[in-house]
Structure formats: structure tokens, C-alpha cells
Symmetry: C2
Subunit: 300 residues, 2 copies
């Protein structure tokens, strides 16, 4: 029996320890000694935080191919570093202008704006350095595919492009289809990359990769739906960040369009869709199934 | 006879055309369609500009190993994208707060701050996407080494770390040795990565790579020295950006310490050092020799 609570807690511990070990002056690459301040800011923006869902997805997808969890960790750390850099930059005054993240001061509040910009840039860069490291996977062909996958998930046609679309959408006038594309890119693309990276580490063939991509795209939509719902239903205390911001900003979320119950029904259908995509994999995909269901039930 | 003016002009044209072709919605990777606005900002921040010295170094180092210039271009584009992202972020109000770059409005002036942050993030990410593309080099082992090299040159122990040290140094109290480390990281590390990437494309052995690294480190110091000298001697009109900023900010450059003549003598010695490191390579290294000498003579 797969135990989601145990596996996700174990993964979160492994990610915390892995990031803490990797994000030191001694470990990071480059011809010169890193500045202590940028390392401190990178650590502030990435340690002691988050559910580490993306590394969990890497681990769970790799588990389908019997990859031991420690072999899926480096790629998981790289995805998490991308996620954390995006939060640091999104929190900046010129973007969402948030003072708190997980109940603690955001990086530009704890340090300053210039340091937050640089710490984000550094986390983004070091994510690729980590993937290039032979310790991540012995086969260079797999490592370079991981680089391509992470870049595709986080770049212009993925997370960053989605973030840009989100800002443009705040000015109003987005159609429902445009909102769906924006959300698939802003949060979906990195979830998709996480699952596909786990599959690539496991040596998935084209058919398995395609099924797992279908899972990941549905799971990403479920994650976003849950987020939109929580923005309406949760309190700032539970979430450790401001809520009700979407409605305040007049954002065209699914909740605004379908109402709370309609959005919850759509969430259930989307989770079913994700789980259905895994039908050929048997019990080794129970981790991914549990994560999709968790998206529908999470309370923060 | 190697013709520096012709080769550098040809390289600049190739980089301009290559970036313009790569930075379109159709070419960039990712599951979704990139936002037009972020692509426009990436193009504003990277096209029609600059001397393209880093791609030239990639090409010149690769030429030692008889690599045709078009085969050195993709890696050169990747380095140039990193250079351009760093300029976009450095120009932001929270960093150097510059309104003009090469005589045109900086990206945050032509667009806005959020767009400039995202365009920088996107260029940084797409640089690694480009290196991962099989079109960059047929051998995955070489491509992943290019990723490692570029990340090392531009990350915490390289360019970004140097930028952080520079900001800290502006508060004063840096020793001469600390300034040297900062400059080696801030501008030297990416020059070093450019030369080494050219060598890796050419299949350089450890000995050749070591000689070229020695060249690159001296050339990087020469480049920085020339920059410090130009900040004192050039006019804003020639440079297309503000000058005299170092002295105004009380920056501890070599010019401030040795005076203008002392700095010029040191620049000549450093160029000699760079050229000496190439002695085993014969005429195929004339390109790199010419670039080091160009650093000593440039007027903008």
C-alpha cells in the first residue's frame, strides 16, 4: 500500500537536506568564490518551505520504472530550485509585491531588491548546473534531455511565458481559452516537466512518456483549480500568504466563472482524468495517483 | 592573415541573424505559446546591439581545432543570451537604474519592470534550451559539458556572484585582492566560459583546455581594465551609455589606484600574458590573439 503522507514527508525531508547541502559556497560551481550574501538569499528563498510537490512528482514518476528515490532526487532539486526562483521574482515589488511567503519575509524584504533579483537568477542558473553534473544521472544523453525538459517547462513557452500572460490578463479581456492556456503554462508546464523528468530518468519509452504527459497535464489543471478554490475558501493564516487576491484583482479564474461548487466538480473530473491516464502502469503508479487526489483534497 | 575587423563584423552579423531567428514564438521550446510581449522584450534586449565579443571568442577558440564558424554559432548565441539577460537585469531600478543602453531605452523603460525581469529570466532559460538542442552539437556529452561550462561562468561562482560582490563593494572597504576576485567573476567568468566552450566544441584535450583557460583569464582581466579606463576617458556619446560612473560611485577600480598611465601599462602587460598562453597553437590562434590586442586598443 502506497502511503502518501509518509512518502511526501520523506521527500520533503530529502529535498530540504539536499538543497541545504547543494546551496553552499563550496558546492556551487564557477571559477570564483560565491558571495555569502547571494548564497544566504538563495537559502532564504528555498529552504524551510513548501510542500516540495514537484520533486515528489519526479520521484513518483521515476518509481514507475523502479528508480530508487535517491536517484530521482537531484532532478527534483533542480525543479524545486526553478520553482523557488520563480517565487522570489514573482514576489518582487514590480511583480506581485508580496511581503510574506510561507509566513516569513520574502527575499527582497529580508535582504533587498537587487539581492532578490540576483538570488533568483542564481537559483535558475544553478538548477541547470546541477542537471549537468554527472552525479545526477550517469548517461549524458539523459542529462541533456533533463536540461531540455526543464528549460521547456520553465521558459518562454512554459512558466515565464505564462507569468507574462498572467500579467497581461490582469488588464482584462482574456477569453476562457486564453485563461486556460495561461494557467497551463504558468503552473502546468513545470508540473509537466517534473513528471516527464522522472520518466526520462526511468528510461520511459515514447508510449509511457505520452501517457505520463497526459497525466501531468490533467494533474496540473487540478493543481491550478485547487489553488483558485483555496484563494476563495482559505484564510491567510492557513495559507501563510494573502488570500482573496484573485477576486480583488478581478482575475478571471474558473471559480469566478463557475462558482465554488462548479469549480469543485470540475476539479473532481480533472483528477479522474489524471488517474485514468495511468491505467497501464499498475500499482507502481500509486504515488502519482495519490498526488492527483491530494490536489483535490488539500486545505492549504 | 587573420583579419579581425572582417571576422568580428561577420560574427556580429551571424549573431544578429541567429538571435533574430531563434527568438521567435515558433522556435522557442515549451508546451505553450509564448506571450508576444515577453518575446518582444527579449528581442529588444538582445538584438541590434553590442560587439558580440563573447560569440567571437567561442568562434575563435573553436577555430584552433578547425571547427567551421557556423558550428560554433549556437553556443555563441547561448553565451550572448546570458550576457544580454545580465544587462537587462543590471539596468533595473533596483540595480544600476539605467535608462539608456547603446543609445536606446533599456528594457524596463521601453516596456516595464515586470516585463524586464521576465525577459531576463526567459533569455537565461532559453540559453540552456539552445545548448540542449541536438543542432548545437551532435554529441550529447559535449552539449552537457557546454551546459556545465555556461552555468559555471554565469552562476553563483561566476557572473551573478561577481555582480553581488560588486554591489557589496560599493559600500566600500574592499581590498585590492577582493576587487580582483569580483572583477574576475563579474566579467571574467563569462569570457572564460566563452573560450572554453569553443575549445569543448573543438574536442580540446586537457592540456589545450588549460592553455586556453589561462588565455581567457588574462583576456578577461584585460577587458575589465579597458572598461575601467574607458569609464574615465570616453564620452557618453561614444559609449552610448553614461561614463564617469565608477569615480562618481567611489568605486575602487585599478584606475583609481594606479592612475591612468599605470592602468594602461598594466593593460599592455595583461594582453601580453594572454597572447603568451597561446604559444603552442600557431596561426590558428591568431583570432584569439587579435581579440586580446583589440581589448587594449578599443575606444568604446
Amino acid at each position: 500500500m502506497y502511503d502518501f503522507a509518509a512518502d511526501s514527508a520523506d521527500c520533503a525531508r530529502a529535498v530540504e537536506a539536499g538543497l541545504s547541502e547543494y546551496l553552499t559556497g563550496a558546492r556551487l560551481s564557477g571559477p570564483g568564490p560565491a558571495a555569502d550574501r547571494v548564497i544566504a538569499a538563495m537559502r532564504h528563498g528555498s529552504l524551510e518551505g513548501g510542500k516540495r510537490l514537484r520533486p515528489l512528482l519526479v520521484r513518483q514518476a521515476a518509481a514507475i520504472f523502479s528508480v530508487p528515490r535517491e536517484q530521482a532526487l537531484p532532478a527534483g532539486l533542480a525543479v524545486e530550485m526553478i520553482h523557488c526562483y520563480s517565487l522570489i521574482h514573482d514576489d518582487l515589488p514590480a511583480m506581485d509585491d508580496d511581503d510574506l511567503r510561507r509566513g516569513r519575509p520574502t527575499v527582497h524584504k529580508a535582504f533587498d531588491e537587487a539581492t532578490a533579483i540576483l538570488a533568483g537568477d542564481a537559483l535558475l542558473t544553478e538548477a541547470f548546473a546541477l542537471l549537468a553534473n554527472p552525479g545526477t544521472h550517469p548517461d549524458a544523453e539523459v542529462r541533456i534531455r533533463l536540461v531540455a525538459e526543464l528549460a521547456a517547462g520553465s521558459g518562454t513557452g512554459g512558466m515565464v511565458g505564462g507569468q507574462m500572460r498572467d500579467i497581461e490578463g490582469e488588464k482584462g479581456g482574456f477569453t476562457e481559452a486564453e485563461i486556460a492556456v495561461m494557467q497551463a503554462m504558468k503552473t502546468g508546464a513545470l508540473i509537466r516537466a517534473s513528471v516527464r523528468m522522472g520518466a526520462l530518468i526511468g528510461g520511459a519509452d515514447a508510449r509511457a512518456l505520452s501517457a505520463l504527459t497526459a497525466y501531468a497535464e490533467a494533474a496540473g489543471r487540478a493543481f491550478q483549480l485547487a489553488d483558485d478554490i483555496l484563494d476563495v475558501t482559505a484564510t491567510p493564516e492557513t495559507m501563510g500568504k494573502a488570500t482573496g487576491k484573485d477576486a480583488e484583482a478581478g482575475k478571471q479564474t474558473v471559480v469566478a466563472r463557475l462558482g465554488l461548487e462548479g469549480a469543485r466538480e470540475m476539479l473532481d473530473r480533472t483528477v479522474s482524468e489524471a488517474v485514468s491516464a495511468l491505467r497501464t502502469f499498475g500499482p507502481r503508479a500509486d504515488g502519482l495517483r495519490a498526488t492527483a487526489r491530494y490536489f483535490a483534497s488539500r486545505e492549504k
